[in-house]
Symmetry: C2
Subunit: 664 residues, 2 copies
């Protein structure tokens, strides 16, 4: 009779929920580790660290060899985990706590709130690390996430509770996250009664390739392993409680980690040690088939929320999620269509802005560093600890397999062949034979980012090839001076010794000079050059000038070249450096002291002339606006439409180099 009633209720409720009062509840238990690298479990091949309970779970379930966090930062990663949305879309761009102050967007739903609508009893024990606090969670006792035995006891209470509702329980362990920002950096912080501590001999540890092999690193790893084993014990107890509560056969269990360790090269990176995580799923419906299976499907923490919705038959939010249920891949070694995953990072702390977007396939990883010009900001957890500090103190050139320099200053696009270069050191992004791969991966990545509402696409553009615009623009310039001789130049009024070439420089010696003109004529152009003055030096650049023996400043125009500060005589405003000589005065203060190299650009376009000295515009004028008849009569050259470019040596030592021209 009671069963019949239940069946009726189920039938009535089936459109909104299949689980409430269901004869067979579909529960979920998440075991969530904190800062644990994928291969720091026995079942993932680590020969040192003891994780018997996680290994047992792997024997009973499916172990994923290629699982990923999409962002290697605690708070943001949890945003992804609990919402199924990328960090670039859910609002939890960085940490929620303290000064960082980030938060989920108001309209974003967490898996807790979605399950609450489906009448689930929800529990969150330990580290949650999101803002705002989720008010829909039924059971959220206060407990330090390092007190793993206390957490296991609370889980036992929760699992034992008599309820008609199915449950969703997350165990947010704080281990093996470092327990302090000073020494000792790792190791169990709060040893609870009745819990044994594994100890590891630092000397027996195999240091992973992304870290330097130094004593303080080994010590850190020994403590970190201790924390993993400590947490593993709690994992065993909780799974025992689940069994004792008679719920093992209808509870989906997932063990995973938020991201890799706090060591440099891992946390807050998109390199493998940062984002690759353990991921084990025990589906009680597939006990036989899935036991001990190792899956090569590429999954990510984006998939957790969709997986839970799928398993619990819960309605998702109105907006599409960015991951998908992994249930079809459970119990299978290969599943077609699970061959790539996408990662997205924005902040760690609010002072650590370093947006990255990444596509990871089986063979390749392409990382787009949107702020590649910036110095990579290490997370405070990394900055404050021994590995990094010793690296700096010892002035070590390397950090693991890459240089410290390359770790801090990254290429805009990084492309790695993971089979041949598992340490991700040799960037293939600009190698000709990998351009096709780069293009394909870039297109896939962009498509995914567009589909997932990546706001950053409005501000940044992924370069799909190595031909950057800057390089293109630079190549539009042609050299006027070959650095070896005066080919292409012709000398007028060669008083004294003229000009000569020395070590790639075109030199007007004090005893030399004259008018050294280009053989070609130019009309609209940008002329760039470097020049170095001696004290009080006087020279000039003729533009749109005929090949004259005298008065080029009148037959053409002359842009003054002059050491303003060192010039011994009083100057008129139109005699200072950069002026159109005798016509338009230039702004002063842009020149470097005599003896230093200056960079200048003269742009002549139509009647508009611009002179930029050391990136400071010193003159900008439209010569067509000169109406003073006296000036126009004195300077017929103001109306020239084309002419030669010339160096007007006046008997001072002046040096030029890198003389480039682009014609419009």
């Amino acid at each position: 009779m009671r069963f019949l009633f239940q069946l009726l209720v189920i039938t009535c409720l089936t459109h909104t929920s299949n689980s409430l009062f269901s004869a067979e509840q579909r529960n979920v238990l998440i075991l969530f580790s904190d800062n644990q690298n994928w291969n720091d479990c026995g079942c993932y091949g680590n020969q040192i660290v003891k994780t018997p309970n996680i290994d047992q779970l792997a024997r009973e379930g499916t172990r994923y060899e290629q699982a990923f966090a999409t962002t290697a930062s605690c708070g943001p990663c949890r945003g992804v985990f609990y919402t199924g949305l990328h960090v670039h879309a859910n609002g939890q761009y960085g940490h929620p706590h303290g000064d960082h102050n980030f938060r989920l967007k108001p309209k974003v739903k967490t898996i807790f709130s979605l399950l609450a609508q489906n009448h689930y009893r929800t529990g969150m024990i330990g580290k949650y690390h999101l803002f705002p606090e989720d008010t829909t969670i039924d059971f959220k006792p206060k407990i330090n996430g390092y007190r793993v035995q206390g957490m296991a006891d609370l889980a036992d209470d929760f699992l034992k509770q008599k309820s008609d509702q199915p449950f969703f329980l997350v165990m947010g362990f704080h281990d093996p996250h470092p327990t302090s920002r000073t020494q000792p950096e790792w190791g169990v912080k709060v040893k609870e009664q009745g819990m044994a501590l594994e100890t590891y001999d630092p000397d027996s540890i195999t240091v992973p390739s992304y870290l330097p092999d130094r004593p303080e690193v080994r010590q850190g790893l020994a403590g970190y392993y201790q924390q993993i084993s400590y947490m593993d014990t709690a994992v065993g107890r909780i799974l025992q409680s689940l069994k004792a509560a008679g719920k093992a056969d209808n509870t989906l269990v997932i063990f995973t980690s938020d991201h890799g360790s706090s060591e440099p090269g891992a946390m807050a990176n998109h390199y493998e040690p940062g984002v690759r995580i353990p991921f084990i799923v025990r589906n009680p419906k597939l006990k036989q088939e899935s036991a001990g299976v190792v899956s090569d499907s590429l999954v990510s923490l984006l998939d957790v929320t969709p997986t839970i919705l799928d398993w619990t038959n819960t309605k998702g939010p109105k907006y599409p999620l960015h991951g998908r249920s992994v249930l079809p891949t459970v119990g299978k070694t290969n599943t077609p269509g699970w061959d790539e995953t996408f990662l997205s990072h924005v902040f760690h702390e609010v002072t650590m802005y370093y947006p990255m977007r990444t596509i990871r396939t089986r063979d390749f990883k392409l990382i787009w560093n949107l702020e590649w010009r910036s110095k990579y900001p290490l997370p405070i957890d990394t900055l404050s600890r021994a590995t990094w500090n010793e690296t700096l103190r010892l002035q070590e050139p390397l950090l693991g397999q890459r240089t410290v320099k390359k770790f801090l200053f990254r290429d805009e696009v990084e492309l790695y062949d993971l089979k041949n270069d598992p340490d991700e050191v040799i960037n293939l992004a600009c190698q000709p034979e990998f351009q096709a791969v780069r293009k394909t991966l870039s297109e896939k990545l962009l498509k995914h980012l567009e589909q997932t509402d990546d706001l950053w696409l409005k501000q940044y553009t992924l370069p799909v090839s190595c031909n950057t615009t800057a390089a293109d623009q630079q190549s539009e310039y042609k050299s006027l001076f070959n650095g070896r001789d005066l080919t292409g130049w012709t000398l007028k009024r060669a008083n004294r010794k003229g000009y000569h070439v020395e070590e790639g420089k075109l030199i007007c010696p004090a005893e030399g000079g004259g008018f050294l003109f280009t053989e070609h004529e130019y009309s609209d152009f940008s002329l760039k050059f470097d020049f170095k003055l001696t004290k009080g030096a006087n020279n000039g650049i003729a533009v749109r000038c005929p090949l004259v023996d005298q008065r080029p400043a009148y037959a053409g125009i002359e842009i003054q070249v002059l050491d303003n500060k060192g010039y011994p005589k009083k100057l008129k405003p139109t005699q200072y450096h950069g002026s159109v000589y005798d016509v338009i005065p230039a702004k002063r203060g842009a020149l470097k002291p005599a003896g230093e190299w200056n960079h200048e650009e003269i742009i002549y376009r139509g009647s508009q002339i611009t002179v930029i000295v050391n990136d400071i515009p010193v003159l900008r004028t439209d010569l067509a606006k000169i109406t003073d008849a006296e000036i126009l009569t004195k300077h017929p050259g103001l109306k020239n439409r084309r002419g030669h470019i010339g160096l007007l040596g006046h008997g001072s030592h002046v040096e030029y180099k890198n003389i480039l021209i682009k014609e419009f």
Copy 2:
């Protein structure tokens, strides 16, 4: 009798509040303009724009010539305005709305909530632009901030309300903020009945120096002026309502703007057009003294909350505020101690991270661009509009008085002499005669940032001088090759033609070679050099080697130099480029194709040797760990503690340049 009763009440309440039921209420009216440059009012000297009501307010009050927004971004600026805390401390780092999702920190109090505790009746009409919404505001009708007449009507309602409580009212105008991100970009959006529209002739406008003088800019300014005049009419009406309500004599009135216009160079910058704002205070207690006074005190929007707390005698929050009450400066031309102000910016939109910290004195401005390596991110409001788009389309080299390049790529520290360079173009930060100014200003700035809990100081360091660490480190290297001849080198086994120098390069010709050793010996060092290979080329670098005529790879050690891909014969692992020849193999894949320049660094320290090719570490080994007796016997040089460095030419054309050494 009634008076006596009131007096009693006042006496009783005096410790918590002086204003409730006070015989003389002390009200506040804020008139808050949106994106208006300081000098775009008649009273600030603009000859074109008509602002009779603002001008009248200036005649009745004190007009500040040097008032500043601390951040030129709408949302963050309001965070500063309403809290009295810098953007780096209040949590409202960027915009609150939509995807940007920033918010005030939960513990930060707004002026509304502080006044509510002091029993004020608070009103906010128009644009608020903070998150979370302030639930303590009594009167907050929904109205579009461009409907200025509607806003004035609502203000009239609020001011007319009979109440024993004093009031605090903010009029958040949306004018002259651009009304659209496409054409027409400025101009009154919602013309209300009974409101006249000023029209301005684009041709009659004087384009300010920070903008290009082009038609679309003039059109934009004409519309922007129209919006200012439109808002000015509402200002007049609201001040009329205040008078009509009999409250003009006990209401402090402040007119100001959030920051400068949306044009490039203004919004989201710390340049004057971005941060300098109009600021007029009418203190009814100082009618006579202050009427028409122009103050040169440097004030900022940080001072608004403290000023209101002071005027209303309201208790501030528990934490210290970052500004101070301007009341002591009202009515005075000069007030000692008001000679500098501090600005702080973090974000505009969340994709536009560009932290800046600035000190502005009467004569100088020092801007610290924390992310100076990044490309300056223009706010979307600027990016999407005609001025910027035309600048790009025309490939204009300049934006106003600075280059587009310098606008986008800024120096880490900018120091401007505002008297001589009001356009802030000539950066004096590295000029020797301004180092003292730089140091003084830097120290003041740092002290202020420390006092105001600037989180960014944990991640960034302000360089107080031009001697950067990078330059220092570079200078520790000495050149081994002068680029002209072989001074300092000695040739052994000079088979064929040896080496020669050409255009600054040290060349081993195909028909030349031999062992070219440094005359000096080196022990622990970093050796850096550039090299270019021809196809299949074979060469080598001897290190810690005696001056031998043969077998330097055994008498010392040899780091292979070899074109891996082009070498015609089969190679052993220890023959590839970067290997310790015949001893330790190097990683492959770092070399560029033959004909391109490579950069290499060899670091030999104690027994540890590191080889880095093109920033990729290809070899890292501790030679002391070699225990194989056969190798040690064959290579006695492995144990050398010092020796010469040599180029080991093998009859292939190889070029070297920039050969530098640093000894440890």
